[in-house]
């Protein structure tokens, strides 16, 4: 496989990040929000792994970080889903704009 360099990976990561942000800014559905967050995290993972591959001096650190981020993302998703489930139980909706009870 030809060595394409770091830049294409970064472009792809930036694109993924932009998609994720666009997703959780526009979506009102809580599940959609969560999906956007996953995209953002994976963009970061891609960056980490690519950097570990192409930046001299780095060897395995990127992969280790990426694995940790995946674990944390799983945990975060579990917590967030639990919150949304409760929210749905109480309000019969998953529209995050309705979740404004504790606003100032």
């Amino acid at each position: 496989m030809a060595d394409v360099g770091l830049v294409p990976f970064q472009i792809l990561a930036a694109f993924l990040f932009a998609c994720g942000v666009a997703c959780f800014v526009t979506k009102r559905n809580a599940i959609g929000l969560l999906m956007g967050v996953e995209l953002v995290l994976n963009a970061a993972n891609l960056n980490l792994v690519a950097a570990a591959r192409f930046v001299p001096g780095l060897r395995i650190e990127g992969q280790v970080f990426a694995v940790i981020v995946i674990v944390l993302a799983a945990a975060e998703a579990a917590v967030a889903l639990a919150i949304f489930l409760n929210f749905y139980n109480n309000y019969a909706t998953v529209d995050v704009d309705q979740a404004n009870e504790s606003k100032g």
Partner: protein
């Protein structure tokens, strides 16, 4: 190993032990009171506690505390007499070895070391504690413990009412429990503090004792604290004394900053008569004035004399012990001790301060109708005599008068107390009369006191007053511009005789003016008359010497003279010679003045019954005590009270406009800024995710922008 009972090598330690002895009943009474209070709160539920409570006297105060205090003070008196005899013997045998004598009768040690930190230029200094016994201390110590013991004994009778389960305080319209133990607790604490002040060999320890006697005086003036007048008088005494103590503290601070020591001997050696090299003349004068201001406050001299007459609100034994014989004399004592430290200008200040006090107080005493007030003003006046004597260089005369005055003034106060006790708390002279027939012992012992204070020959007061007046005459002959320093006390001596005889005639002779008081009057019990008799003997003979008719031959005076600071007798040598020369003239004039005063009192009050005109409520300048109280009220009290009330009102409910500028307004302002800020900030918490993301993104962009601009 420090052995406080090693009297053979250090006989001075007897004085240390004697000083600490009155502290024992203080501690015991405190412990007993604590146990008793704890037991009382549980005595309803716990049978053991109720038994303990019963053991400590139950609701009825026990007399044990009084006996205990008396026994310990008597032990202290015994030690001091032993010490006095030994000291006089040794001061004869070791007369030419002053170092040897000092080593046996004084010790000191560091208490607090200060100022030896690394890099500091000042040499390490230390506050010391120690004792030094000389003629003055030995005599004063014996006087305080002796008179103290008599007054403790007297109080057993006088304060008997306090041992009752319930005491009706008619003046305050309340009923309360008796406070016998508390009275003796304060008295014992006072005895300890006073003795500590006497044996102290440095100014700092004196200051500690000084404050302690001050606070005991406060407690005891306010002993009947349910009475508004008593609590006010206690506050007044305490606050006025603070003014003096501030001066004392300034004097001490100057001495310590300049010389690095507070020991009397070291200070005297460094100052040594002429101006010391370490300090400017102005500072030297200021140091002396500072020390003297402390003495002015404690000894009730003008302008800080106003507290003493009000202090008569306390129980009469307290007036006798603290406000006549011992504590108020502490100021005179300290002037005597600090004698070598004073600049010449300070002596003149002392003399004139004494002159003004003795004259003003004597004039006020002429018109007072309360038996204790007459005595209080007379105390001020006699303290003025002592100060004047010290100011004109008559160290021995001034301090001899201190010792003799302690006897006859304690006697007069205890006599007055006996009258008050016998007449069921009637203090107004106009309601008495003819009491001689009801209470003969009181009447005739008091007559001895009256004769002594008036300066009748062969009574103790004569010896000291005669010496004071001849020294004053010598001084005014030597310095003609100070002639008032002789004529003032001469006139005051006449007035003294007048007001004392007036008191005696009004109380004890003539016909009874108030039948109820007279019919209820009775002689006081033995515990009260015994101290009167002993003190009367003391007032008669304490200053005797041989030949009896020579005022200069007083044995006590000679002993005191041995302790006189040598430096000063040189400074005043000239006026001393003149005093010797004019001794007879001064004595004769003093006698004449006293005779005139006594005769006038007899013609007004003794020969015939006083008319209603003479007994009406006094008014005018003298009855208002030269308007000193009104002046202070106007100058200090009213302004500060008004300011305090204004501030309180502004803080509490004033208009908002004014409130903004007060401290309270500042605090409220801080609080309301936080509150308003919070109200606005909470609006940013909308609950909308998109807004949060927007803020987040804007923040990120601005941070990145700032990084790109500022971080190169």
């Amino acid at each position: 190993m420090f052995n406080p009972f090693d009297f053979a090598a250090h006989p001075g330690r007897a004085y240390m032990v004697a000083t600490l002895l009155p502290l024992v009943p203080v501690l015991l009474l405190l412990i007993a009171a604590t146990i008793r209070n704890m037991a009382r709160s549980r005595s309803h539920t716990d049978s053991f506690a109720s038994r303990v409570y019963w053991l400590f006297g139950g609701d009825q105060p026990l007399k044990t505390g009084g006996y205990l205090s008396l026994v310990f003070l008597l032990a202290s008196f015994g030690l001091s007499v032993w010490g006095l005899l030994n000291f006089f013997e040794e001061s004869q045998t070791l007369h030419d070895q002053p170092k040897e004598l000092a080593a046996r009768w004084s010790e000191r040690g560091d208490w607090l070391r200060i100022g030896s930190a690394k890099g500091e230029h000042r040499p390490a200094a230390a506050l010391q504690t120690g004792y030094r016994i000389d003629q003055l201390t030995a005599l004063m110590f014996a006087m305080v413990t002796g008179i103290g013991s008599l007054i403790f004994l007297y109080s057993l009778g006088y304060m008997r009412q306090e041992t009752d389960e319930t005491v009706d305080d008619h003046a305050a319209h309340t009923t309360r429990r008796g406070r016998f133990g508390r009275f003796y607790l304060y008295l014992s604490l006072f005895a300890f503090s006073m003795l500590n002040l006497l044996i102290a060999d440095n100014l700092f320890q004196v200051f500690v004792g000084w404050e302690l006697v001050g606070v005991c005086s406060f407690f005891l003036i306010g002993f009947y604290y349910e009475r508004k007048s008593a609590s006010t008088a206690a506050n007044k005494a305490f606050i006025v004394n603070r003014v003096g103590d501030a001066g004392l503290l300034i004097g001490i601070a100057i001495a310590f900053a300049t010389f690095g020591t507070l020991n009397f001997q070291d200070l005297a050696e460094k100052i040594a008569g002429s101006q010391p090299d370490e300090m400017s003349h102005g500072l030297w004068v200021l140091m002396g004035l500072g020390l003297f201001v402390g003495c002015v406050g404690k000894s009730a001299q003008v302008p800080l004399q106003t507290w003493l007459p009000d202090a008569m609100e306390g129980p009469t034994p307290v007036s006798a012990l603290i406000h006549a014989a011992t504590m108020v004399a502490a100021g005179v004592y300290l002037v005597g001790r600090c004698y070598p430290l004073f600049a010449p200008e300070v002596f003149l200040t002392i003399a004139y301060c004494g002159l003004i006090t003795l004259f003003l107080s004597a004039t006020v005493a002429l018109v007072m109708t309360d038996i204790k007030r007459v005595l209080a003003f007379s105390t001020c006046s006699q303290l003025g005599f002592m100060m004047l004597a010290l100011g004109v260089g008559a160290w021995t005369a001034g301090l001899l008068h201190l010792l003799t005055h302690a006897f006859f003034k304690a006697l007069l106060f205890l006599g007055a107390g006996s009258v008050i006790h016998g007449c069921h708390h009637e203090q107004d002279l106009r309601q008495m009369g003819g009491l001689r027939r009801k209470m003969p012992i009181t009447a005739f012992t008091m007559l001895v006191g009256v004769l002594a204070i008036s300066g009748t020959p062969f009574f103790s007061g004569w010896y000291s007053k005669d010496q004071i007046l001849s020294s004053a005459l010598g001084y005014s002959v030597a310095h003609n511009q100070h002639a008032l320093l002789f004529f003032g006390p001469l006139i005051a001596a006449g007035m003294t005789a007048f007001y004392m005889f007036r008191l005696w005639f009004l109380a004890f002779t003539g016909t009874p003016r108030n039948a109820t008081v007279y019919s209820q009057a009775r002689e006081s019990p033995f515990t009260m008359t015994l101290p009167l008799i002993v003190l009367a003997l003391g007032s008669l003979g304490i200053a005797w010497g041989w030949p009896l008719w020579d005022a200069e031959a007083s044995f006590l005076g000679h002993k005191l003279h041995e302790g006189e600071p040598a430096l000063m007798s040189r400074a005043f040598a000239h006026s001393r010679e003149l005093a010797e020369e004019h001794h007879l003239a001064a004595g004769g004039l003093a006698l004449l003045a006293a005779l005139l005063g006594a005769g006038y009192a007899w013609s007004r009050y003794g020969r015939t019954a006083p008319t209603a005109e003479q007994l009406k409520e006094p008014t005018g300048l003298l009855a208002n005590r030269w308007y000193f109280d009104d002046l202070y009220d106007f100058a200090f009290l009213r302004g500060s009270q008004r300011l305090a009330k204004l501030s309180a009102n502004v803080d509490r409910s004033g208009p908002n406009q004014a409130k903004r500028f007060t401290l309270d307004g500042l605090m409220s302002g801080c609080a309301s800024i936080a509150m308003v800020g919070g109200q606005y900030l909470r609006m940013t918490q909308t609950g909308q995710v998109r807004q949060y993301v927007l803020v987040l993104a804007l923040t990120l962009v601005s941070v990145l922008w700032m990084l790109s601009v500022f971080v190169r």
